[in-house]
């Protein structure tokens, strides 16, 4: 459970940093009168804060799955499947999609609606291609005899990529909705926030993918070995 | 008025119930009296806190109940000194329970080097036991070896297992006064080997080996229960452990059959290793 606890410590640090600006030491009974809100969180758009909280939930979900992975891989029967080469291409695709959204965000800010639309469509295309690539990776593995139930390492590969893929799918749906709204909107700046949020979600999922990839490929194994030694 | 009285009766009544209760732990039959002592300490500390809190509450409810001509209500948002004192006292009370608890736990998980090994194997819904033969060691096992004539899954290639003694569906006998390490294995689901008189217990997990240890301190026949839900037969998964004097124990041991009688072994005894 090291990964999950580490992620929680990270969140606790963020929460503590925010709370430290909330005058938790003040004596609320002393000052009657209007006290203005402090801190930047109150001025942030609600949707952005909401997405931040949601990403924390997604983050803990994946850290728990990875904790399970780390615990399960210590058992005797573990035998990792070969890494499908297409995963490298997929990694490039998801990073490019992230780039497309950064581009779209910049363009919306500068009221360049058409270019922003190009960026969003490119991101959608790259994201869809990433999903397709993941399916090909599944197919490749299954075809070479590494089926879901054969070994827990295979099961984890399908489960983790599947869980990630479902989140990507959600991101694509949001991307379609935002693209459609931008298409019909007269004022591109009004769509600044939704485009930014799409980007945030996407970057986070790209980051999750990089971590998953590192773990599945075994590079994280060294780190995990250290964690194991700390625990046992 | 009656509210305060009810709270008072609950506080005192709980203590009276505790003192008069005919339901109390079974007379101990192992070395784990320390566990009983820790429980007793915990009862004292928690009992005092319970009494103090509920009686103080009862008194407050009686003394400060709403009356038409109420005295001034105290406006006191906090009292740092009082709060820190209460925190400190609580911390001391908690430490007074935790310290003996951890001390006994370190004993609980440290098996004495001279402990005899005995394997307890659970499956839905019966207990089996395996004792090392004259070589004093248990043979390896694996689920893939389990079959009708090898119900506990002994590895046929492992010579250490040839002389192991099997007790299936019978009673486990233990010699009094000698430390025993119980090595636990399950063939199917979670179980828990629970003899109330021993105080010690541990889950049996399929796919791994768990353990606990104890020294039986008095002879007698004690009932084994399963304490981890294991399906519809859970409540009926019973057995007996007989703690016997050394001589009686040896007599029992001589009647047990080794795993592979074909191996032509002499009748083993525990002391010969």
């Amino acid at each position: 459970m090291t990964a999950a606890v580490a992620f929680l410590v990270l969140l606790a640090g963020l929460a503590g940093w925010w709370l430290s600006g909330q005058r938790l030491m003040s004596r609320p009974w002393l000052a009657a009168g209007v006290v203005e809100e402090t801190g930047s969180l109150a001025r942030m758009p609600a949707a952005k804060v909401g997405l931040g909280v949601f990403l924390a939930v997604v983050g803990i979900l994946f850290s728990l799955a990875l904790s399970a992975y780390a615990m399960r891989m210590q058992l005797a029967d573990w035998s990792a499947p070969p890494l499908p080469t297409i995963l490298w291409a997929n990694t490039l695709l998801i990073l490019l999609a992230s780039g497309g959204l950064v581009w779209a965000g910049r363009c919306v800010q500068h009221r360049q609606k058409e270019r922003a639309l190009d960026g969003l469509l490119a991101a959608f295309g790259l994201g869809a291609a990433f999903l397709g690539g993941q399916l090909i990776a599944w197919d490749e593995l299954a075809a070479s005899g590494y089926r879901l139930a054969d070994n827990a390492a295979n099961s984890f590969f399908y489960m983790l990529t599947g869980l990630h893929g479902v989140h990507i799918l959600g991101g694509l749906v949001a991307l379609v909705a935002v693209t459609a709204r931008l298409w019909h909107s007269a004022d591109a700046t009004a769509m600044r926030l939704p485009v930014e949020l799409c980007g945030l979600y996407w970057h986070f999922l790209a980051l999750v993918w990089l971590v998953l990839f590192a773990v599945i490929a075994g590079w994280a194994g060294d780190v995990l070995a250290v964690c194991r030694q700390l625990l046992s | 008025m009656h509210v305060a009285l009810a709270l008072f009766v609950i506080a005192i009544g709980s203590v009276v119930f505790h003192l008069l209760s005919p339901w109390w732990w079974t007379p101990i039959a192992s070395n784990w009296t320390y566990i009983d002592h820790t429980i007793t300490i915990t009862f004292w500390i928690t009992g005092l806190v319970f009494l103090a809190v509920v009686l103080f509450m009862a008194w407050c409810v009686w003394r400060y109940r709403h009356r038409p001509r109420q005295g001034d209500v105290l406006y006191e948002p906090e009292n740092k000194r009082l709060e820190w004192w209460l925190t400190a006292i609580t911390a001391i009370g908690v430490a007074a329970m935790l310290a003996p608890g951890l001390y006994v736990w370190s004993q609980f998980i440290t098996v004495p080097p001279d402990a005899d090994e005995v394997e307890i194997v659970a499956q839905q819904w019966q207990w089996s036991y395996r004792l090392p033969g004259p070589d004093g060691r248990l043979g390896a096992t694996a689920i893939r070896h389990v079959s009708d004539d090898n119900p506990l899954g002994l590895d046929p290639q492992d010579p250490r297992g040839a002389d192991d003694l099997m007790v299936q569906g019978g009673e486990l006998h233990l010699p009094v006064g000698r430390p025993v390490k119980a090595v636990l294995r399950s063939l199917d689901v979670l179980h828990d080997f629970y003899v109330p008189e021993f105080r010690a217990k541990m889950d049996l997990i399929p796919g791994m080996v768990t353990y606990f240890w104890l020294t039986p301190t008095r002879t007698g026949t004690f009932e084994v229960l399963c304490a981890e839900m294991c399906g519809v037969g859970h409540a009926f998964m019973r057995g007996f452990v007989v703690v016997a004097e050394e001589s009686d124990y040896r007599a029992w041991l001589e009647q047990q059959q080794p795993a592979r009688p074909a191996a032509q072994l002499r009748v083993p005894t525990m002391t010969e290793r």
Binding site: W29, E37, A47 | H66, D188, K201, H234
Partner: protein, 596 residues
């Protein structure tokens, strides 16, 4: 969410939201069924959860009948008994307590208490309820599925949960896992609302340290639930894989009733870690809202400021954080690495300190107060007794070596019913009596309320206090009948029969509550806007019950904390949070009539 211009709400969150920005209902369906008003959603959540609660209560009757008089009721065999306890446990913990305290009270109270017009994402909030209802329907459907509901115990431990020695392994376990997954998805949508509304929806002047403790409790519990439920989610998904697709995440190689199964190499302990990573915070997810609510009930009805408000807030935060590093105290005898015992026993007992501080501060609030023994106050007092009792028995089970003889006995059952069954339920009742006049505009009947309180409080105490001693004696939990054992005296079975009879009486008393709840909607005494003369914002709404949007033309401005009761030199014995300092009438205390 497309219904509200997002950025508009967002950029004006802490100041004024135009009433027009809310999605007002256009007809009966959008007003009462697919409503986006947090208050309506709260009532939907509470009503559904109460219905589930009555089903679970009925199941507990069956269970007690079997335990008290084993063999008398032929239709309750071992399999049925396990199905009953499993459904009772899971329903009560997840679908009743979590749903009422967060979905019900969270929805009703958070926007009103922080001075918001509604939750920040009303559409997601509405979806949350419908997901919850779907989860309930899936769960209840398992009663009618082939093989019936699962009998794996609410902990659903593999391998037993998905094998044929356990009832409901055909479809019951699948429906249970799917229902939990749906519940968690729905809860996440609601939880985001509760958290972000507290972060962003607070009205002018409502700083964090002016929030009523109810909001603090529900807020912290929501954050915890958002972070803890994913563990259950992952565990359920993986167990579903093991059950349906033959993977071996949790399943070791095993021989089941004579035949070897395909599984191999998995770890049942892994499931337990995931389960309790959720399961322990869950205890506090239920407890923290109860802590918060009970603080406000006590302050209001004792007409005194809550004692040590800052300590109370810090304690809530400390408990919330610590509760994530104590999970393995449920696994002391599970066969995990025994060295973990030292760590988890220490963290578990440390958590007792902030919890004890909360108890001290409640009773110190009673001290030198002006205690009105109203029905909500009675329930709050009852909560303190049961919570202290259950919390103290938790010190037995948390202290690793003491847990060894007591784990998996009736002591555990008595402990957790006292601390996270009865205690939060008493708070839920108290809270319903307290806020009912705000929800309906009428008071609940006082005499019936008192009858309900006495039977429930004394009855449950009389059930669960003696039950500890059955566990001390060594009676294991999850036995459909105690059976014969040399160390069970005949009196133990008599105690079981006695507990059953009291349980039947307590269960029947809940019908009084149900009657009172429904009858008072039409026939209760008119309450007015602030019958308890309370300070917090929800009692200061221009209309009672508050309409959609809560505050009429203008959101309130907050000038003070929520506990200005009997402030020296002030004429009234309470000052509402939104009363400006210049409007406070000074002078000798006015005679205050009894609070109804």
């Amino acid at each position: 969410m497309a219904d509200i211009p997002l950025d508009r709400v967002a950029e004006t969150a802490t100041t004024e939201v135009e009433d027009l920005a809310l999605r007002h209902p256009h007809g009966w369906v959008t007003r009462y069924v697919f409503s986006q008003d947090a208050k309506t959603i709260a009532i939907q959540y509470t009503a559904t959860a109460l219905a589930v609660g009555f089903v679970a209560l009925f199941l507990s009757w069956l269970m007690r009948l079997q335990l008290g008089f084993p063999g008398t009721f032929a239709f309750i065999d071992a399999a049925a008994y396990y199905q009953i306890i499993t459904m009772h446990g899971m329903m009560m913990i997840v679908y009743v307590l979590t749903a009422v305290l967060l979905g019900g009270f969270g929805n009703y109270l958070i926007p009103l208490m922080v001075g918001a017009r509604d939750m920040v994402f009303p559409f997601a909030n509405m979806l949350s309820y419908w997901f919850y209802l779907l989860a309930v329907i899936i769960l209840l459907a398992s009663f009618f599925a082939p093989g019936g509901p699962t009998g794996a115990g609410w902990t659903l431990y593999p391998p037993q949960a998905i094998l044929s020695g356990t009832p409901g392994q055909e479809s019951g376990i699948i429906l249970m896992l799917v229902s939990l997954i749906v519940f968690i998805a729905g809860f996440t949508m609601g939880g985001l609302n509760y958290v972000v509304t507290v972060l962003q929806g607070r009205t002018r002047g409502m700083t964090l340290m002016r929030m009523p403790l109810t909001v603090w409790g529900i807020f912290t519990a929501s954050v915890m639930a958002l972070l803890a439920f994913p563990a259950l989610f992952v565990a359920c998904v993986m167990l579903l894989f093991d059950k349906l697709l033959g993977t071996s995440f949790f399943m070791p190689s095993l021989v089941e009733l004579g035949s070897r199964l395909e599984y191999g190499g998995g770890s049942p302990i892994l499931f337990q870690h995931l389960f309790w990573f959720f399961g322990h915070p869950e205890v506090y997810i239920v407890a923290l809202p109860a802590f918060g609510i009970v603080s406000d009930l006590i302050a209001t009805h004792a007409r005194r400021n809550i004692f040590g408000y800052r300590m109370m807030v810090w304690a809530i935060l400390a408990i919330g954080a610590l509760s994530f590093i104590v999970w393995a105290h449920h696994m002391y005898v599970s066969g995990m690495n025994p060295w973990f015992g030292f760590f988890f026993a220490t963290t578990t007992l440390i958590i007792a300190v902030p919890t004890a501080i909360k108890v001290y501060n409640w009773i110190l609030t009673l001290w030198r107060g002006d205690i009105h023994l109203t029905v909500p106050m009675l329930f709050a007092l009852g909560f303190i007794v049961t919570f202290v009792n259950g919390g103290l028995s938790g010190l037995f089970l948390g202290n690793v070596v003491v847990d060894v003889p007591l784990s998996d006995t009736m002591f555990v059952v008595a402990h957790f019913h006292m601390v996270m069954g009865i205690a939060p339920v008493l708070v839920i009742f108290g809270a319903i009596y307290h806020w009912y006049p705000k929800v309906t505009g009428r008071m609940m009947n006082d005499a019936l309320g008192k009858l309900h309180f006495w039977v429930t409080f004394v009855g449950t105490y009389a059930i669960f206090f003696p039950m500890h001693y059955l566990g001390l004696l060594g009676v294991p939990r999850r036995y459909h009948e105690m059976g014969e054992a040399s160390f069970f005296p005949p009196s133990a079975q008599m105690l079981n029969a006695y507990i059953t009879i009291v349980a039947l009486v307590v269960g029947a008393a809940q019908l009084v509550f149900l009657f009172n709840l429904l009858w008072s909607i039409r026939h209760g005494r008119e309450a007015g806007g602030n019958p308890w003369r309370a300070t917090s914002l929800e009692w200061q709404t221009p209309q009672t019950p508050p309409p959609h949007g809560n505050w009429g033309k203008e959101r309130p401005t907050v000038y003070r904390w929520a506990y200005d009761y009997n402030v020296p030199g002030v004429a009234q014995d309470f000052i509402p949070q939104n009363m400006p300092p210049e409007a406070v009438a000074l002078g000798p205390r006015l005679a205050t009539g009894g609070v109804p």
